[in-house]
Symmetry: C2
């Protein structure tokens, strides 16, 4: 299996990306194709004692940054490490693409270069997140700021398949993020989506989920428009980070509190591990015809390695094929074939 890696995407590129890619090659036994400045990659590897043995490099002089308009991936940044990687994926030169670069550019690039699965109206960013009980998948986390209810039903279908095949949840509980549990709650989008999700019959729709229950693992798949999903994801991360910061401060105040830390160290480490999203890797872009994984922008070695591991599972479980085979299609679409 060949995983194409955007060596120049993310806050800690290229070094941490290369470290993660090397670890994936060594531990997962996959072939890695790197995209990015070839001379930059070689220099970085040499300076840091990383072996590029068995890796191919596709030279890409440009980098698409967080500040660039995502559409630039089709224009002035068509020779960026991300664009080159996506073209290689589309051409079948690898089985999956992993990038920690700009989410917006990755969505645009994947949609226009790799293309969506037939019948899928919108690709979605699906984030796997920790909860008090089991990890859950939330989608869309930001690919589509505005959605129609039909798109939310497609997100539910894709999220259900992902949790079943990649995460091994036999019967995922699929819920709609909403401001109340009753079917009449929310705006027009939520009310109509509730009706369509109830009628769909392709997954176990458990109704609306209030945001308060999400961190307790109240659903395996949380369906939302990209605006809401992104707000929820970032609020989750923000509150968790702010609280962790405070807890750390409490323990590092004095010799006495440091002693206190030693007494609860085991429990705290387990808790930190439980809350650590880098354990779960990145966010798959569901609905794209070949596997594309968005690693967190702040990924270091471990986070990027996890994202590659997730790409491997996505390939092994043929998630794209499952979606293509199971996505319901309108009669017009079926006729077009």
């Amino acid at each position: 299996m060949t995983i194409i890696v955007d060596a120049y995407g993310g806050d800690h590129a290229p070094l941490e990306i290369l470290k993660g890619a090397c670890r994936a090659r060594d531990e997962l036994g996959v072939t890695i194709t790197l995209t990015g400045s070839e001379s930059g990659i070689r220099t970085c590897a040499q300076e840091n004692g990383l072996s590029l043995n068995g890796m191919t490099i596709l030279d890409a002089p440009d980098v698409i940054s967080m500040e660039d308009d995502p559409m630039e991936i089709r224009r002035s940044k068509s020779n960026s490490s991300m664009a080159v990687g996506l073209r290689a994926l589309a051409a079948g030169e690898g089985d999956a693409f992993v990038s920690a670069g700009s989410t917006g550019a990755l969505v645009v690039g994947s949609t226009f270069i790799v293309k969506r699965i037939k019948g899928v109206k919108r690709a979605a960013i699906a984030s796997i997140m920790p909860s008090d009980t089991v990890p859950f998948l939330m989608l869309d986390c930001g690919a589509n700021a505005e959605c129609r209810p039909e798109a939310l039903v497609q997100f539910a279908v894709m999220g259900d398949l992902y949790m079943k095949h990649v995460m091994g949840v036999p019967k995922p509980r699929v819920a709609l993020a909403n401001i109340g549990t009753e079917s009449t709650k929310g705006g027009e989008l939520q009310r109509e989506a509730y009706r369509m999700l109830s009628d769909c019959g392709l997954f176990d729709f458990t109704g609306n989920i209030e945001a308060r229950m999400i961190p307790y693992g109240g659903a395996d798949v949380v369906v939302a428009d990209g605006f809401t999903g992104n707000m929820l994801l970032k609020m989750y991360e923000g509150v968790a980070a702010a609280m962790m910061k405070n807890i750390k401060e409490i323990f590092t105040k004095s010799t006495k509190t440091k002693l206190g830390f030693l007494m609860v160290k085991g429990g705290l480490i387990d808790f930190k591990k439980k809350m650590d999203y880098t354990e779960f890797g990145g966010a798959p872009l569901l609905g794209i015809s070949r596997p594309v994984i968005k690693a967190h922008g702040s990924s270091k070695e471990k986070g990027f390695f996890s994202a590659v591991r997730q790409a491997v599972r996505t390939v092994e479980k043929d998630v794209c094929g499952e979606i293509a085979r199971n996505m319901p299609r309108s009669s017009e679409e079926a006729k077009e074939d």
Copy 2:
């Protein structure tokens, strides 16, 4: 000053409400008018040794529950403790109304019985929340699941005045909740609201705020439509509660961890106090012509007392008058006068 209290609203009514009201009478020197079943209130007070000295009771046989359709406050539940309280407020029999009952019914009842301030299109639930640094106000937290951009500008005006006058923040930083900091981010609502908020000139608009920065106190006033605000509020509460639960479990595991707790007890208590929303009281319904405060549904004595204290400040600072005097009005509205 007379505060009208819904004795039958909330999960712990009437006992905890009565306790909070008694404490407010004793500590804040305000007159309390209670609404609800007179016999029920008297029995509860007697059984729990609470003195109703100096309190008036407006008998209201019904209770509007969380399960009732909010519109019922205008129909079958027009003799509920909430409806009776709102009519008393509208008739000038008190200076403010405080209820821990159904948010939806309180919004409907306040709008139809007490009425909005002239020029205000939509009333908003404004929640004061803790952050890593300073408390902030988020509005709307659920009165309006769908909003037009004009409403978001009015929320900004009202939130700014509230933070200035009640919370004593000289120049509140007003920000729009969005999925990115750039003006082009979000849906049509956010893009248009961004433009209008930038042009308004009545407050210090600092641009978009991502959800990740909200728990760090990145803005004093966070403006959002009611759907988004409600999701953010509940996600905040949910993550904080789930983490607190885990931390508690870590410390109560064994004798050793309990000893560890003793060593960081002071810091943990301070942290818990910092994160405790009951310190801040309830959520004012901004845009209503007289002060209405929504106490948290789970309010106990302390939380309800804080909500009454907040009502007192809202009256003292004449927040409703400030909003009425400062709300920009269209030329059509001005002509109508």
